[in-house]
């Protein structure tokens, strides 16, 4: 067994996850490899000393603080008081409403009801009456007659 493999197995041994076959092979390697024995001892010592890490003063009775924080949030956002299934229904309803509104608005826009009225300009009417349809289309309003051409007082 190579030392790199042995070092990996040391961790599993520490965690009690080493299958018997690997445990036997590791033990055989450690018997003949001092650097790996030193590494094992170093890991075991660090693992043990880690136990000195304090757990603190123990849990505080913070339930009143938690209750106060919840009360503050539900006062700010009253919907937080609703049970989860009610919130989900409300969210689904809101999404459905948005989807329907979006479809209706899109339909109306497509029909041009929201677009500006596109009445033909005076130039276009005059040219159409005089010359018929032009290959390049109707002139831009105001090009020939200025602002008076489409109803604006100069």
């Amino acid at each position: 067994m190579r030392c790199s493999r042995s070092r990996r197995l040391l961790d599993r041994k520490l965690d009690g996850r080493l299958p018997p076959r690997d445990a036997a092979r590791l033990a055989a390697h450690l018997a003949s490899c001092e650097p790996c024995r030193v590494a094992q001892a170093s890991l075991a010592r660090a693992w043990e000393r880690l136990g000195l890490l304090s757990a603190g003063r123990g849990p505080a009775e913070d339930w009143p603080v938690i209750a106060a924080r919840i009360a503050a949030r539900t006062e700010r956002w009253p919907w937080l008081r609703w049970p989860l299934h009610v919130r989900r229904l409300a969210a689904a309803g809101a999404l459905a409403g948005l989807a329907i509104a979006g479809l209706l608005l899109g339909d109306v826009a497509a029909r041009g009801a929201l677009g500006p009225a596109r009445a033909p300009s005076l130039e276009a009417i005059a040219i159409a009456e005089g010359f018929g349809d032009l290959p390049f289309g109707a002139p831009t309003p105001g090009v020939l007659l200025g602002r008076a051409g489409h109803g604006e007082t100069p």
């Binding site: 990996r8 961790d11 520490l14 965690d15 996850r17 590494a39 170093s42 890991l43 010592r45 660090a46 693992w47 000393r49 880690l50 136990g51 000195l52 890490l53 304090s54 757990a55 603190g56 003063r57 123990g58 849990p59 505080a60 913070d62 339930w63 603080v65 938690i66 209750a67 924080r69 919840i70 949030r73 539900t74 937080l80 008081r81 609703w82 049970p83 989860l84 299934h85 919130r87 989900r88």
Partner: protein, 188 residues
């Protein structure tokens, strides 16, 4: 180590919390506050920050119940949220864990023992401070993995779930963390 609990009963409690039942939330809080506080304190090294994390976790359970899936064990969810909150706090700019809280706690523990000598108390406090510094030097995810493994005795699979990663990633985190600790805590 976390107290034994009935996973099915906890899931029922969590479902009641999803219905807005604050009494159920309090029951879950009383069952799990000690373990949550322990992990948060060992990670952050600051008593006030650790208490804030624990409060945050249980407030979230009531105000965002959709975050908990009833199909999962409650403890799985709890570790995941505690780990996320701790990792996020550490990542905040300027946050520094308090070795002073850890040192104070060590002194209090020894002072509480009438049979302990002042020299032993001081030695223990120094050792604990050295361990604290070594743990504080670990990157966030390595630190959380080592704490969940060493003190809460979570399996690789449970740690992977808490850190939202794979088992092989957990093995790698523990491998690197142990080597770093071994180096930092080597005899001078």
């Amino acid at each position: 180590m976390s107290p034994p609990s009935d996973p099915a009963a906890e899931v029922r409690l969590a479902e009641r919390v999803a219905g807005g039942d604050r009494a159920a939330l309090r029951e879950l809080y009383l069952l799990h506050r000690e373990a949550a506080q322990r992990v948060a304190f060992r990670y952050l090294g600051d008593e006030a920050e650790a208490r804030d994390v624990v409060q945050d976790v249980f407030v979230t359970l009531l105000t965002q119940p959709a975050a908990f899936s009833p199909k999962a064990r409650f403890s799985t969810w709890l570790w995941r949220v505690v780990a996320n909150r701790c990792l996020n706090r550490r990542a905040k700019a300027g946050f520094r864990g308090g070795a002073r809280d850890a040192g104070d706690a060590a002194l209090l523990e020894v002072q509480g023992d009438p049979g302990g000598s002042p020299d032993a108390a001081l030695l223990r406090a120094e050792e604990e401070a050295r361990v604290r510094a070594a743990v504080d030097a670990l990157p966030g995810r390595q630190r959380m993995a080592i704490l969940l493994s060493r003190f809460e005795e979570l399996s690789y699979e449970e740690i992977a779930s808490a850190l939202e990663t794979s088992v092989s990633s957990v093995e790698s985190l523990l491998f690197r963390a142990r080597r770093a600790l071994a180096e930092a805590l080597a005899e001078p």
